[in-house]
């Protein structure tokens, strides 16, 4: 059974998480997205879209559902995982004061889930003051540190000079983390998902085919999409032959530049044999392939913000995964 992709959405109160979730729930077509929110209050869905509402779950006519976390993420997540048919994407909204990182890791521990990204939103106009606040500063730092993608929202409230100042401050404090600007929480989350998840739209079987097919698949998915330039993401790939050293592969993936938001590979390692490998939220995970499968060539695809991935550094780093 293929794992359900998971995105965790963090960010302080007022950063625009709910607006983003409203977009996601209502502007998605033909995807069963399950969104777990802290409370329904601010979720504002056109009544015509609501198929049913049983107090804990809001079902939409487009197949999406919105579930209340209430006071228990564990129960809410279990309810969602038990749904038939299974959701195609799960988005967990971390509460405004929580650290999204420990929540996101459930997408690395549970066999039914695969973490794709930790998206953290900040209010461009407020983030500096929040970072300097005695009571909130440490909470903000933890949230931003957890981000695989930081969204600087409400950029309409600032002029370019002020925005540049905010970005400089964030870069100084947090290093080169992938940062996107947005207004009114308009964010190409679906594109990010398609790029990051690379495989999820297809069956995994497609990826254990000979490498020529993989090249085509990759071409179809990423370069083609890149050419349209309608979203800010860019993907790249790395391939090699031979058996990789599992521990070196893990170390190499974890030392990739932070601009790599997500990576996924079909590789053979000394410890796993033919296996899928994921990098998400800065952590590495393997996913067993059926025993009959063999992989001809190690193939890894990754995604980041356009123009921000140093391909040579990525390649050099991943080359270190070989058995010396």
């Amino acid at each position: 059974m293929s794992r359900i992709p998971l995105v965790v959405l963090g960010g302080f109160l007022g950063a625009g998480k709910t607006t983003l979730l409203n977009h996601l729930l209502t502007q998605t077509e033909h995807r069963r997205i399950a969104v777990l929110v802290n409370d329904f209050g601010p979720i504002n869905v056109d009544a015509a879209l609501v198929a049913s509402h049983d107090g804990e779950t809001l079902s939409l006519t487009n197949g999406c559902i919105c579930c209340s976390i209430g006071s228990g993420l564990e129960e809410a997540l279990t309810r969602v995982l038990e749904r038939q048919p299974a959701p195609e994407l799960i988005v967990i909204e971390a509460s405004g004061v929580s650290d999204p990182k420990p929540i996101a890791q459930v997408g690395l521990s549970d066999p039914l889930l695969q973490l794709e990204a930790v998206v953290v939103m900040v209010d461009a106009a407020e983030v500096q003051a929040q970072l300097d606040d005695d009571l909130l500063g440490d909470t903000l730092v933890r949230q931003i540190d957890a981000a695989s993608l930081l969204v600087l929202n409400k950029t309409d409230l600032l002029d370019e000079a002020a925005l540049a100042e905010v970005q400089a401050r964030l870069q100084k404090q947090f290093g080169a983390l992938p940062m996107l600007r947005s207004r009114f929480a308009q964010l190409p989350l679906t594109e990010l998902m398609q790029g990051a998840g690379v495989a999820h739209a297809d069956s995994d079987a497609a990826h254990v085919a000979p490498p020529t097919d993989m090249g085509e698949r990759q071409h179809d998915h990423s370069h083609h999409a890149d050419a349209e330039l309608d979203h800010p993401f860019e993907s790249g790939s790395w391939s090699s032959s031979g058996v990789l050293d599992a521990d070196r592969l893990i170390a190499a993936l974890k030392s990739l530049p932070r601009s790599v938001i997500r990576a996924k590979g079909w590789v053979t390692t000394d410890r796993h044999g033919a296996t899928l490998v994921h990098l998400a939220g800065g952590r590495v995970r393997f996913e067993k392939l059926p025993g009959t499968v063999s992989i001809q060539r190690n193939e890894l695809v990754y995604i980041g913000l356009r123009g921000q991935i140093p391909a040579a550094v990525v390649a050099a780093t991943l080359d270190g995964a070989h058995i010396p």
């Binding site: 302080f12 109160l13 802290n38 409370d39 329904f40 209050g41 209340s68 209430g70 006071s71 228990g72 993420l73 564990e74 129960e75 997540l77 279990t78 995982l81 405004g96 004061v97 929580s98 650290d99 990182k101 420990p102 929540i103 996101a104 890791q105 459930v106 690395l108 521990s109 549970d110 066999p111 009571l135 909130l136 440490d138 909470t139 893990i250 952590r283 590495v284 995970r285 393997f286």
Partner: protein, 550 residues
């Protein structure tokens, strides 16, 4: 028995907790309420009465009131108790504390033999803090025969230990790169899993949820039995999700004459976030379920985490071991909003603040709400309030707040607070009942069961003696007298629930809720207070033997 019938109970002694009439020998009961209390003649003034001498050689106190515990204490007893200290179960028996990992394994092995094929073996109450440097691993749990999933929940419920079968079924192995999955030096998981993401795959596999289980008639029954064994006649459920079906079951079970407990749930404010109106209207509707033994109306807010988990929000100089500051569960800005709105709606709030930074922000929020919307006798209560400074207690007093202090912490985690979390200075003033008493803050003391055992007389012992598990006395000047502690577990707790007009003392007009003891706790050596035996209870005129004694 007609409702007009009067029963006069004679006791060796009655400690009324009413300072105007501290002691008595007879109490007359009609329609479940106290009709008269005092001498035999006083009790017989109402005319023909049935005389009942069952308590002739016992001491009666008002039924004890547990102001901070959770219904899921009842659900825990579905599993095997493997804690370090003795604990009384719903059967009334002492489940002996297990002093080593080997002893835990042996206890689980015994329990394994009782299980049906395919059933999971689950232990609870484990706490390695008392076992020195020993940590439980798969090597220990894999010694248990039977090829089952074996899971041991820690006392805090923030950790568990799993056996190899459980890890395998949950998909946790050497490659699981998640914080909280503890590994051996060779990279294999030890089976100790900490916090949500590490625990979730195992918990999901076990199925069920404490919230649902806790409201099952079986678990409510066990909760009632544990309370009854401890002399408790009113207990809180201090975070209830307000699931209507669950509350209907609760209303039904508690309404029965043979259910030995009044239950006071507090609605989870976290479930409603800033949408306080929604919570208030849900409570208004659900209050139709209220009866003499079920009382919905309180709202619970949780501001921060726990001190021993390093998740409490603490002020300068922070954690003694240098751990980073803890977490907000409700953001300060939301707290201001929620406190103002619940306060204005006339709701009584019970607010969890463990660290002194959380306490400070809460005091600011309440001060603001009171300035905007003055309100007498609100009795908002700070729950735990473990690190409050004398200055904060002065604010608590000035703002008309109550404090429910976590006295049991001194015994169970006092040593850890000295060595790891707070250091000696602040550990000495934790759970400062003495300061609360001196400053006139209305206060109660609590167990937070199932986190620590539901046993108010033990909690009173903790507040009186302030002795840690290793035998140290923490902050002698914060010790309170036996009389003050007995008041805290009766009238003190009743006051924090706004129920001091109905329970908490033996006075005319109040419910005939009693705790039956073999000795007079007010005359005992303070260090023996925890050893007094609870013989039974009476709730609304219905007598109950302590479980295992009847």
């Amino acid at each position: 028995m007609s409702s007009q019938d009067v029963t006069v109970y004679r006791a060796k002694k009655i400690l009324t907790m009413n300072p105007a009439q501290p002691e008595a020998t007879h109490v007359a009961v009609r329609e479940g309420r106290i009709l008269a209390v005092g001498t035999q003649q006083q009790a017989e003034n109402w005319g023909v009465a049935r005389h009942d001498d069952r308590y002739a050689d016992k001491v009666l106190m008002p039924g004890l009131v547990e102001g901070h515990c959770h219904l899921y204490e009842g659900a825990m007893w579905l599993y095997v108790y493997v804690g370090f200290y003795d604990r009384r179960g719903p059967d009334g028996k002492i489940h002996p504390g297990l002093k080593s990992i080997d002893a835990v394994v042996r206890r689980l092995q015994e329990a394994e033999r009782e299980l049906e094929p395919g059933q999971n073996l689950i232990g609870w109450g484990f706490d390695p803090i008392y076992l020195g440097t020993d940590r439980m691993t798969v090597k220990d749990l894999d010694r248990i025969t039977g090829d089952r999933v074996v899971v041991v929940m820690h006392a805090s419920l923030h950790l568990l230990n799993a056996n190899s079968r459980a890890l395998e079924n949950a998909g946790i192995d050497q490659d699981t790169d998640v914080e909280g999955v503890t590994k051996f030096p060779d990279g294999k998981p030890t089976g100790e899993l900490c916090e949500f993401s590490a625990m979730y795959p195992v918990m999901r596999m076990l199925g069920g949820s404490f919230r649902q289980l806790s409201h099952s008639p079986q678990c409510l029954e066990m909760f009632g039995q544990v309370a009854r064994a401890a002399g408790v006649t009113t207990a809180t459920d201090l975070v209830n999700e307000l699931d209507e079906d669950n509350l209907r079951t609760l209303a039904e079970v508690t309404a029965a004459d043979d259910y030995p407990l009044r239950i006071v749930p507090a609605a989870s404010a976290m479930r409603f976030g800033r949408d306080t109106d929604n919570c208030v209207s849900a409570l208004e509707n659900l209050k139709s379920l209220n009866h003499d033994k079920l009382r919905l109306g309180l709202v619970k807010l949780v501001v921060d985490g726990s001190i021993q988990g390093f998740t409490a929000r603490v002020q300068w100089p922070g954690y003694y071991n240098g751990a980073p500051n803890g977490i907000w569960v409700i953001a300060p800005d939301d707290l201001f909003h929620m406190v103002e709105h619940y306060h204005r709606a006339g709701i009584q709030m019970h607010i969890h603040t463990n660290g002194n930074e959380a306490t400070e922000v809460t005091l600011d929020a309440i001060e603001r709400a009171l300035t905007l919307h003055p309100r007498f006798d609100h009795r908002h209560t700070l729950q735990h309030c473990q690190m409050a400074s004398p200055a904060q207690f002065r604010r608590i007093a000035k703002l008309g707040l109550c404090a429910n202090l976590f006295a049991n912490h001194i015994f169970y985690w006092g040593d850890a607070h000295v060595e790891m979390t707070m250091g000696l200075d602040r550990a000495n003033r934790m759970d400062a009942c003495g300061t609360a008493q001196r400053l006139g803050v209305p206060f109660a003391i609590h167990s937070d069961a199932p986190i620590t055992p539901l046993a108010p007389l033990f909690t009173a012992w903790c507040a009186v003696n302030r002795q840690t598990a290793s035998g140290k006395v923490l902050g002698e000047s914060e010790c309170i007298s036996v009389a003050e502690a007995l008041r805290a577990i009766t009238l003190g707790a009743a006051y924090t629930l706004h129920m001091d007009d109905q329970i908490g003392s033996i006075e005319v007009g109040k419910w005939a809720d009693f705790c039956v003891l073999d000795q007079d706790p007010s005359r005992m050596e303070p260090e023996k207070l925890k050893d007094v035996t609870v013989e039974g209870t009476m709730v609304g005129g219905h007598a109950f033997d302590a479980p295992g004694r009847g």
